[in-house]
């Protein structure tokens, strides 16, 4: 327990229309750099949890602290700022804006977060150098010299660009919402390796939500929402 705390949930309750409790987590603590696999069937509160961790939703009672900052004390605007600065988000698919180039998609967080832009500049010297480094790390070096529209990328390549975007500017937390569900077995394997390796390298806390149990093995910890969230069992 020497590592600093990255995510901490305490007595968390989130309900829908007050009477219908969706999420009820007594206590959960994740350490900095920890890679966590969150599993659970649909309806077990996965998306609610992601939205709570992303600061989009606020719990009705209890507390969420990210990087020792209690989210409920922040205004919505500040929570958006906090997310831009400290959290990378990865969706199932269609992560990229079709009208931006690969590099511009990748650098999108640097447009919204001064902190992440400065971190990138500090680490790589320039934004494009940062983009190139991440593209290389995710086996997309080809796109540096031969830019092409996002629509010409395969789904696997798109997901890797999205992963690079979630990692640029070294956010402390990465929320991944079933990012492999649209990938076939080969690309999935490759994607998982790169994602885990890169988040490890940046010491990013990875919260990976999926119901594909085969993927859980390399993770530091596996959390089952079915058991963690008593509200699901009640329903």
């Amino acid at each position: 327990m020497t590592q600093p705390c990255s995510v901490s949930l305490n007595q968390l309750v989130f309900s829908w229309k007050k009477t219908h409790t969706l999420l009820n987590i007594d206590s959960l603590t994740l350490h900095k750099g920890e890679q966590v696999f969150v599993q659970g069937p649909s309806g077990s509160g996965k998306s609610t949890l992601l939205n709570l961790l992303g600061g989009v939703l606020l719990p009705h009672s209890g507390e969420i602290s990210l990087l020792d900052t209690p989210l409920s004390t922040l205004s919505q605007r500040k929570r958006d700022r906090f997310r831009a600065d400290h959290i990378g988000v990865l969706f199932q698919q269609f992560n990229l804006l079709p009208y931006l180039s690969v590099a511009d998609n990748l650098l999108l967080p640097c447009q919204f977060s001064k902190l992440r832009r400065e971190r990138t500049l500090k680490e790589y010297g320039s934004l494009s150098a940062g983009a190139h480094a991440l593209l290389e790390a995710l086996d997309l070096a080809d796109y540096i010299h031969h830019p092409r529209p996002v629509s010409q990328l395969s789904i696997g390549q798109q997901q890797r660009v999205a992963a690079a975007r979630a990692l640029i500017g070294a956010p402390e937390i990465l929320l991944a919402d079933e990012p492999t569900s649209a990938l076939d077995a080969d690309t999935r394997h490759r994607f998982m390796n790169l994602l885990l390796q890169q988040s490890r390298q940046h010491n990013t806390t990875l919260i990976f939500v999926s119901h594909d149990l085969e993927l859980r093995h390399p993770f530091d910890r596996v959390i089952d929402l079915k058991t963690l969230n008593p509200a699901y069992r009640v329903n």
């Binding site: 989009v56 939703l57 988000v89 999108l108 919402d177």
Partner: protein, 417 residues
């Protein structure tokens, strides 16, 4: 952020282009109608000034004003030359300008008058006529051209002009036996004068001396030289303008003319008649303005439809922006800036198109309808209309923006589509 908005618009350029097109066409329409209204009013009140009375055969004040000043419509009857002379010789009268109408040249109306026209006629803010080239009547067969006539037909001093009997471009009966020579070209006035040709009353008499009832008298054919020896005193004229020594005498003079015993005459005050005419016209113009405002409303509704439809397709895009840190307000601003940008661009395009149309059609409109459109800057009224359009665009944009705001709140980081 602006770059994002622009790129996003560019990405949907197909539908956006259509919206832009309809919107800018309706802006063109609205601005065009306003321009028409403004310039008509301007040219209306500028057509004649400094004239105290206009006298013609008794009809109504509007027809008299229309045919004598604007060259629109037909005079009902002529005035006897003796009546004209008697009124012109009154003590209170400072000057008169006789006017005879009925002939034309290539669609432009010919006015028979005297040199007093050049001396006394005033337009706009008491401006006098001035010659661009040459001089007013000197020889019998001298013709003076309005600026627009000279420009449109490409005439220069000394060119020969044959006047057609009657009005209309397709007039078959030409006074080709008595051609005129261009003696002078007037400077542009922005009034119907620019589209008139002027000949002297004597010349008018000369070209009609061997005509009766609209056709040549068979066997009687006087050539241009012989006619000079005849008595060319006119027998009739269409109307005349009167300048009085003192404006105090205006109403007295008007009454005297209206009750003139030897023939039914009518005298009108040009300012009052112009005002009356304007009131009639402004109703039509106001309703035109309302119709074009409705067109703006319709195209804004179209824009709203397209923005709302695209919003559904863009839910994913908005979620991505939200995930990388854009707040709901920022996304709202993105959507709002889109419609504001579209209305701005459409306004600019619309104004540009209006000027292009004015540029292309001002001659034709002036020729066909007697309305002189200018390529001046935007009037305060037009600016006000543009401002209203911007405001309407902003309000229209609020609807998808608010919807997007709620989408981002509902979807959060887990977009449904």
């Amino acid at each position: 952020m602006l770059k994002l908005a622009l790129l996003s618009i560019w990405n949907r350029r197909g539908t956006i282009f259509l919206t832009l097109l309809t919107l800018s066409i309706s802006v063109t329409l609205l601005m065009g109608v306003e321009k028409l209204r403004h310039d008509t009013q301007q040219s209306f009140f500028n057509t004649v000034s400094g004239t105290d009375l206009i006298v013609g055969a008794r009809s109504g004040s509007l027809p008299l004003l229309l045919y004598s000043v604007f060259g629109i419509g037909q005079p009902t009857n002529n005035i006897r030359w003796s009546s004209y002379q008697q009124i012109a010789s009154q003590e209170a009268v400072a000057w008169t300008i006789p006017i005879t109408l009925g002939d034309s040249h290539q669609g432009f109306k010919v006015i028979g008058t005297e040199n007093s026209f050049y001396e006394h006629f005033k337009f706009g803010r008491q401006q006098s006529l001035s010659m661009a080239e040459g001089h007013f009547f000197d020889d019998l067969f001298d013709v003076v051209l309005g600026a627009e006539v000279a420009r449109a037909l490409g005439y220069d001093l000394g060119d020969s002009v044959v006047i057609a009997h009657g009005l209309g471009r397709g007039s078959f009966a030409q006074h080709q036996d008595k051609p005129f020579k261009v003696a002078g070209i007037l400077n542009a006035t922005g009034t119907p004068i620019d589209r008139n040709l002027f000949i002297s009353l004597a010349a008018w008499e000369a070209i009609h001396i061997d005509w009766r009832a609209g056709t040549r008298i068979p066997g009687m054919n006087l050539d241009a030289e012989t006619v000079r020896t005849r008595d060319l005193t006119p027998k009739e004229l269409t109307a005349f303008m009167v300048g009085l020594k003192s404006p105090m005498a205006t109403f007295h003079m008007q009454r005297a003319i209206n009750t003139y015993r030897t023939e039914p005459l009518q005298a009108i005050l040009p300012g009052v008649a112009l005002q009356e005419l304007w009131q009639v016209l402004s109703i039509a113009e106001k309703s035109l303005l309302i119709v074009s405002a409705c067109v703006i409303f319709a195209s804004l509704t179209g824009m709203l439809g397209i923005l709302l439809t695209s919003l559904n397709e863009r839910r994913r895009e908005l979620a991505i922006l939200r995930a990388v840190g854009a707040g709901p307000l920022r996304i709202m601003a993105l959507l709002l800036s889109e419609s504001v940008f579209l209305t701005l661009l459409a306004s600019a395009l619309g104004v540009g198109m209006m000027y292009l149309l004015v540029f292309c059609f001002q001659d034709w409109i002036a020729l066909e309808y007697g309305v002189f459109l200018t390529l001046n800057g935007l009037t305060p009224d037009q600016f006000r209309l543009l401002l209203w359009i911007q405001l309407a665009g902003l309000i229209t944009g609020l609807i998808p923006a608010i919807k997007a705001y709620y989408y981002t709140l509902i979807d959060g980081l887990t977009p449904k589509i």
